[in-house]
């Protein structure tokens, strides 16, 4: 399953794209997504703990399933305000 993944701030600079496509197993979870990202962008590996994942604009834990068409994003530590 292809997941369209929005990237922001530091994560956008790592991927070089506002949005990338990541392949995860059908019925896969946020944890699967994280694992694939670490393979593809090793620099993420040491930083993954601090990066949140949102699914359909809600922060989502590693067990959260990703379904086709979900809006998924990488959220590095924020600094608004």
């Amino acid at each position: 399953m292809q997941v369209r993944l929005k990237c922001f701030a530091w994560a956008r600079e790592v991927t070089g794209e506002e949005e990338i496509s990541v392949e995860i197993p059908e019925g896969g979870t946020v944890a699967d997504l994280r694992a694939r990202l670490e393979e593809r962008f090793p620099v993420f590996a040491g930083r993954m703990e601090s990066i949140a994942v949102s699914v359909n604009q809600e922060f989502s834990g590693d067990k959260a399933r990703i379904r086709p068409g979900d809006e998924v994003a990488l959220i590095p530590p924020i600094s608004g305000g």
């Binding site: 530091w10 990066i51 604009q57 834990g61 590693d62 959220i75």
Partner: protein, 151 residues
């Protein structure tokens, strides 16, 4: 209720005017301004980036929390994105209430929560280069899966 990400200058007093009404005896505003220094470095300018749709959704969530906690429904929040200069308003908040305690608490809670849950990032440009500032790592709620109904 105003909850929005904007690309233009923020007029805090316009936000205050939006929340005023005849019942309101207290109006509190907060403006977060770009400072000329940060963590010991001179700052020349900033760039703010937002995950706009989610940021506005999270601002509305913060507003809902404020209504529930403090009974304050007259609230306006704007956060600016793009390139900001020293002294520019990055975030403007206005709250109005019958009494001052709730107005102050609403405004304070809003800015505290924005820094905790709203996906916005700032990049600081200084003499030594530019860096994405990382202030608050967001944790997902552990037990449930927000964003989708339980099956």
């Amino acid at each position: 209720m105003i909850c929005r990400i904007v690309e233009r200058p923020i007029d805090v007093q316009a936000l205050a005017a939006q929340v005023e009404e005849a019942e309101a005896g207290a109006v509190c505003t907060f403006a977060g301004l770009v400072r000329n220094h940060s963590r010991g470095q001179r700052v020349t300018h900033l760039e703010y980036q937002a995950y706009r749709e989610m940021a506005e959704k999270k601002l509305r969530q913060v507003a809902d929390e404020i209504a529930e906690r403090f009974g304050v429904t007259r609230l306006a929040i704007e956060h600016r994105v793009g390139v900001l200069r020293i002294g520019d308003v990055a975030v403007g908040i206005a709250s109005a209430s019958a009494h001052r305690d709730a107005a102050f608490k609403a405004c304070r809670y809003a800015i505290d929560r924005i820094k905790q849950v709203v996906p916005i990032w700032k990049k600081e440009f200084g003499e030594d280069g530019a860096v994405w500032v990382e202030e608050c790592a967001v944790e997902a709620p552990p037990a449930r899966e927000p964003g989708r109904p339980e099956n």
